[in-house]
């Protein structure tokens, strides 16, 4: 220590000591495994557990076959639909929370975050208990409308169930960034809009939505990306035609034991996601020059 006058950024040893461990952790447990898997994606299986990094593009070529492109396309469509539903459901929720009285606000936010405190697997099984043929919804409806010849709905093992699961699990990822954006909005802007003759809907359309734009984009990204990589919901709630790309990737790594192809599929997903983020920051930069 050379005394309090030294700029902390110039105390190189101290700086390195602080930076070192997290950087080492990051390199060892994130960058290195990613690099290994990325290398695998250019590899070939030789024997049961050996992979030769041959530099081949065969895995990627295979990933672009119609079968996998179809599943990728379907995953994108699922993710888009789930994100849209999350936005439509989440926007009023976020708006309501941001306008709630302060003490209620805390409880509502806890309510939104509460599912995070429960294991994802348990929540998904809870959905099964709700949706299956003898589940709570069907037996409840049966109790109420059994006299009118009610027939059980098939709510499980189909795309509908997957969509319910995806929306349910990812809704907090939409609500929280939306809430953060809406809560920052200067209330007097809304009052000014009312004062100038706009009703509630026109105020939301003309003032709230444009000003909450960056928040909406974050909400879309934060929802879309994890939905795209969802694995559990199609696996547990879906039917034979509900597979998403993550299920295929999982199968390559496990049952099919084709790591190179699995790696290529995984990185296709990654390239797509990175492309999306790059697009967003490009849009952001256009919005705010400087």
């Amino acid at each position: 220590m050379s005394g309090g006058e030294t700029d902390w950024k110039r105390a190189k040893t101290g700086f390195a000591a602080l930076l070192g461990p997290p950087l080492g952790w990051f390199l060892l447990f994130f960058a290195v495994p990613m690099a290994v898997v990325w290398a695998y994606s250019f590899g070939t299986n030789v024997g049961i557990s050996d992979i030769e990094i041959s530099g081949t593009f065969a895995n990627y070529a295979r990933a672009l076959e119609p079968l996998y492109l179809g599943i990728m396309g379907k995953s994108l469509a699922f993710a888009a639909l789930a994100t849209l539903i999350c936005l439509i459901v989440g926007f009023p929720v976020a708006l309501a929370i941001s306008f709630a009285p302060p003490n209620l606000k805390t409880w509502l936010l806890i309510g939104v975050m509460l599912p995070f405190w429960t294991n994802l697997l348990i929540r998904t099984y809870a959905l099964i208990a709700l949706l299956r043929d003898e589940g709570l919804i069907n037996s409840g409806l049966e109790l109420a409308f059994g006299w009118a010849g009610f027939e059980r709905l098939s709510l499980m093992n189909n795309n509908f169930a997957v969509m319910v699961g995806l929306v349910y699990v990812h809704l907090p990822f939409t609500v929280l960034p939306l809430y953060a954006a809406l809560d920052r909005l200067d209330r007097s802007l809304l009052e000014a809009s009312f004062d100038l003759g706009a009703g509630h809907l026109r105020t939301i359309w003309n003032i709230v939505l444009p000003l909450a734009g960056p928040g909406i984009i974050s909400a879309v990204l934060l929802t879309f990306i994890p939905v795209l990589g969802s694995y559990l919901q199609p696996d547990l709630l879906g039917g034979p035609d509900s597979q998403m790309i993550a299920n295929v990737i999982e199968r390559q790594f496990k049952r099919a034991n084709d790591w190179p192809f699995g790696a290529a599929l995984a990185f296709m997903l990654m390239y797509l996601t990175l492309f999306g983020i790059a697009l967003q920051s490009l849009l952001k930069r256009r919005e705010r020059p400087e």
Binding site: D186, S188, L189, E191, A192, S193, F194, D195, L196, G197, A198, G199, R202, N206, I207, P210, L211
Partner: protein, 378 residues
């Protein structure tokens, strides 16, 4: 001072009370505002003035009572259907819209066609002297310019009443003074009724044709600025508007053309040029504005000067200058009387050497004219 020509009532508050949970923000206020007035709601923060204005705009609903605009009960009418527009304290200029789009916003909501909209918006820009700024974005404007945009956006709607919430408080002192004159001129030109909320008494006195002083949710006094200053109703108003010296006293002689008041605190008698109507048994207060007190040199052996309009020996008291604040245009003297009471005296510096007339620790006579003081009953 009566108003010239009685005017039509445009706003009426009838027994308005507003509670927020256990807090009573506005307590049974009844008030009428005339057409064409520049009316100020004045009071310390938390006195209920902003709540009253927000109820007039429609952002708050009274707990009880009625609000009438142009004779119409608007108590339950939403803000977007009221013939009033507001200039917000923060200006609330929409940051994602250009200046001209901000101004056109209200007209668009009314369904005014695009061409007329643009014409009226340009005209409003001219009124606030921002011609050529239409395409700018709000973050390219200074605080004063944003304030003008907020003003233009409100007046372009041709409201019956323009509401101003602390319109100048976010600006620096110099600009504030400039805009005061402009606002006043603008109000004259437009002939719209202005209702302004302010905690700044100078702003209220300078701009308003009539002021309501509020405290703790209630109206203390409603009067012209001059009446508020020269004839405050209570000590509270006297103290809030400008500064004041207060002396406890009791009426000794009360005639129609004069009164004599004993001031035991400072051991002298005060002579007033008018009767007070106060009972001789109750305590009253003599209010004396600092600029209405004169300073006179006090040499050894010299008797007290005789004050204008009073018999000798009245309205004069011995004191010693404890502190002087030179403010350029005037000097403020802190004078201690013999009993220990402090009196504030303001003396204009009429020539460049006036501030040297008196100095620290100098013995002086304090005196005031028969017309200088005002009696307060509460």
């Amino acid at each position: 001072m009566p108003d010239p020509a009685p005017k039509r009532t445009i706003i009426e508050f009838r027994n308005i009370t507003k509670r927020f949970g256990p807090v009573t923000a506005v307590d049974n206020v009844s008030l009428t505002i005339q057409e064409g007035e520049f009316f100020a709601l004045l009071g310390p923060s938390g006195c209920g003035k902003t709540t009253l204005l927000r109820m007039l705009a429609g952002f708050e609903t009274p707990t009880s009572g009625q609000i009438l605009i142009d004779g119409q009960d608007v108590t339950k009418v939403p803000p977007n259907k009221r013939p009033v527009n507001m200039v917000f304290q923060s200006y609330a200029v929409f940051p994602h819209l250009s200046v001209i789009k901000n101004i056109e916003y209200g007209l668009k909501m009314e369904g005014v066609p695009a061409v007329e909209r643009r014409e009226r918006a340009e005209a409003a820009l001219a009124v606030v002297q921002l011609e050529g700024y239409g395409e700018r974005m709000p973050d390219q404007l200074s605080g004063g310019q944003r304030q003008r945009v907020a003003l233009a956006r409100a007046i372009v709607k041709r409201p019956r009443v323009l509401l101003l919430d602390e319109p100048l408080s976010a600006l620096d002192a110099k600009l504030r003074e400039e805009l005061r004159f402009e606002m006043s001129a603008l109000q004259d030109r437009l002939g719209i009724t202005f209702v302004m909320v302010t905690h700044d008494q100078d702003e209220a006195l300078a701009l308003a044709s009539r002021c309501a002083v509020m405290n703790k949710g209630s109206l203390m006094q409603v009067a012209t600025p001059a009446d508020l200053y020269e004839f405050p109703a209570t000590r509270l108003v006297a103290d809030f508007i400008g500064s004041v010296n207060l002396f406890e006293g009791r009426v000794e002689e009360d005639e129609s053309d004069h009164a004599i008041i004993h001031l035991p605190e400072i051991g002298i008698k005060a002579w007033l040029d008018h009767g007070t109507g106060a009972s001789e048994t109750v305590q009253i207060w003599l209010a004396l504005r600092p600029e209405k007190v004169e300073l006179h040199k006090r040499m050894n052996g010299e008797g007290p000067p005789t004050m204008e309009g009073t018999p000798p020996g009245h309205n004069v008291v011995k004191g010693r200058i404890m502190d002087i604040a030179y403010l350029g245009s005037e000097s403020v003297y802190d004078v201690m009387l013999e009993g220990g009471k402090r009196v504030r005296v303001i003396r204009p510096n009429l020539t460049r050497w006036d501030q040297e007339d008196f100095s620290w620790d100098e013995d002086v006579w304090l005196g005031w004219h028969a017309e200088g003081a005002h009696v307060l009953l509460s």
